[in-house]
């Protein structure tokens, strides 16, 4: 009886582990080169950063997390997983590239072309810059 339970548990754990490696691979998302040429009109504007924070809490935090680590409550369901804004990889993109990504979206990341104005999206870019690891 005990032996059987043990065997069964072992087999089930094995299956679970196997499944856990079947995590879907996701292609990298790179903004087109022309996006890098876009200029952020709010560069170093702290007022704009504050505005960006408001937008962030309302629209982004649910998936990207309150601190932008990509660990928001709704992020668990998504594939690809939401970006972690605190990483060097994310922060090494140009402002223009980040702006382009939030403008166009890539499922399941929404497109904010219609929802936010250009200004609001630049303000958000400013705020995302504050999330990098110091």
């Amino acid at each position: 009886m005990k032996k059987q339970i043990f065997k069964f548990s072992l087999a089930s754990l094995g299956i679970l582990l196997f499944m856990s490696f079947a995590v879907q691979q996701t292609g990298e998302w790179i903004a087109p080169e022309e996006a890098d040429a876009l200029v952020n009109p709010y560069k170093n504007n702290t007022e704009a950063t504050k505005e960006g924070k408001k937008q962030f809490n309302q629209l982004c935090a649910i998936c990207h997390g309150n601190k932008g680590k990509g660990d928001g409550i709704a992020g668990a369901a998504l594939n690809p997983k939401p970006a972690n804004f605190t990483t060097v990889k994310f922060q090494s993109q140009t402002d223009g590239a980040i702006f382009w990504k939030m403008t166009n979206g890539r499922s399941p990341m929404a497109s904010y072309k219609e929802i936010l104005t250009d200004d609001q999206r630049w303000q958000l870019v400013n705020y995302l810059r504050t999330l990098s690891k110091k």
Binding site: I5, L13, I15, S20, K81
Partner: protein, 386 residues
């Protein structure tokens, strides 16, 4: 086989419908098949006697017909394999019409909002464990569906939200023991053509105190007469069912994940009545009675480390559930049972889950297996919603 043919023809019809739908992107009529299925392996040991089996496959299609932004028809069938037969359950079929922002009217056979488990949590891809808590389902004391009319809706009140549902149905039926003496005093919730002229009334109020919807407290009632019309013994027998439910779901940052608590308490009060039992070797039945009060509850806690660094650990979830049922002392179906379940789940996607669980049930009495029963079980299920 007959069921299969019917089903296949429904499916092919729906396929046609979809093709037609795609030609006209602006069609107001929409049709979808949603639903869920599961299959698995179960190992049980009842008082030391072992049994194991692959179990499968439950297929529960939900048909949604959206005729306009206000009119919806929905129905769920449940195909199950049991005792080497295919069982088809007709879970619900009802139409709803959105009267205004705060009121929706619904008619037909619908899942009763009696607590939250049956209406919201029972589908295999939603239920964190492989089976229902004690008190639900077969021989349970909580109703699952009813035939009637319902008014429901929800609205924001300041920073919080209220939702409500009031309904009238044919109501439960009292088993008087004439067919199955050992079940005398139990309630049967399937009542397709009412056994009396009294219509049961019921409702639920849910209150979400916080604007982030993390907490919901609900209170439900369901009451009516349950005896047959003009029955001299049980014509006036009534039943009052009540339930309280609690939900808490929130991502708690210091704990790096989602804490999910669900609980429901069900109480069933049936008016006292006299029942009859034929003792072996006797010709005249003996009369007996009992306080017809049953209750059952469950509390479940689950945790999923969604804020963990690893994408694999994020998908695991642990669950614990405790549930209890007490049926009336002095009845032939008297039972006191408690159950503890532990589970480890792996979420392959938001609607696909592998559920591994270990469960122990201690039961005293019950009309199926009198005496003390100790059941240990291991379940490995794969469930998905579609």
């Amino acid at each position: 086989m007959k069921h299969l043919i019917i089903f296949v023809s429904i499916l092919s019809l729906s396929g046609l419908n979809n093709l037609i739908g795609q030609e006209n992107m602006f069609s107001k009529t929409q049709f979808m098949i949603r639903g869920y299925g599961h299959a698995g392996f179960e190992y049980t040991s009842v008082n030391g006697k072992n049994q194991s089996s692959y179990v499968g496959s439950t297929f529960a299609p939900i048909f949604l017909f959206k005729h306009s932004d206000r009119l919806l028809f929905e129905s769920e069938l449940e195909f199950e394999l049991e005792n080497n037969q295919v069982n088809v359950g007709f879970e619900y079929a009802d139409m709803s019409y959105i009267l205004n922002n705060y009121m929706t009217i619904r008619m037909g056979k619908f899942l009763l909002p009696f607590g939250t488990f049956v209406e919201r949590l029972h589908p295999a891809w939603i239920n964190r464990l492989s089976n229902m808590p004690l008190g639900f389902g077969h021989d349970g004391i909580a109703p699952s569906s009813g035939i009637g009319v319902e008014l429901r809706g929800g609205f924001a009140v300041g920073g919080s939200k209220l939702n409500y549902s009031v309904y009238t149905t044919n109501g439960p039926v009292l088993k008087d023991g004439s067919n199955e003496p050992e079940e005398a005093g139990m309630l049967l919730f399937e009542n397709f053509e009412d056994n009396n002229n009294n219509k049961a009334i019921g409702g639920r109020i849910g209150y979400l105190p916080f604007s982030n919807s993390s907490v919901e407290i609900g209170f439900s009632v369901y009451s009516g007469k349950v005896g047959n019309t003009n029955d001299s013994l049980y014509g006036n027998t009534g039943a009052n069912l009540m339930a309280g439910d609690f939900t808490f779901v929130k991502q708690v940052s210091p704990l790096y994940g989602i804490i999910d608590i669900k609980a429901q308490y069900n109480l069933s009060l049936v008016d006292k009545a006299d029942y009859f039992e034929l003792e072996p070797g006797e010709t005249i039945p003996t009369q007996y009675t009992f306080e017809n009060k049953s209750d059952a509850y469950f509390a479940q806690l689950s945790y999923r480390p969604t804020m963990a660094g690893s994408n694999i650990i994020k998908n695991f979830e642990i669950i614990g559930r405790y549930s209890v049922i007490n049926t009336p002392e002095g009845s032939l179906w008297e039972q006191q049972a408690s159950q503890i379940s532990y589970g480890l789940n792996y979420w392959l996607s938001w609607r696909t889950v592998f559920k591994l669980s270990y469960q122990t049930t201690n039961s005293e009495g019950g009309h199926d297996s009198p005496g003390t029963t100790k059941t240990n079980a291991i379940f490995l299920h794969w469930a998905l919603g579609f």
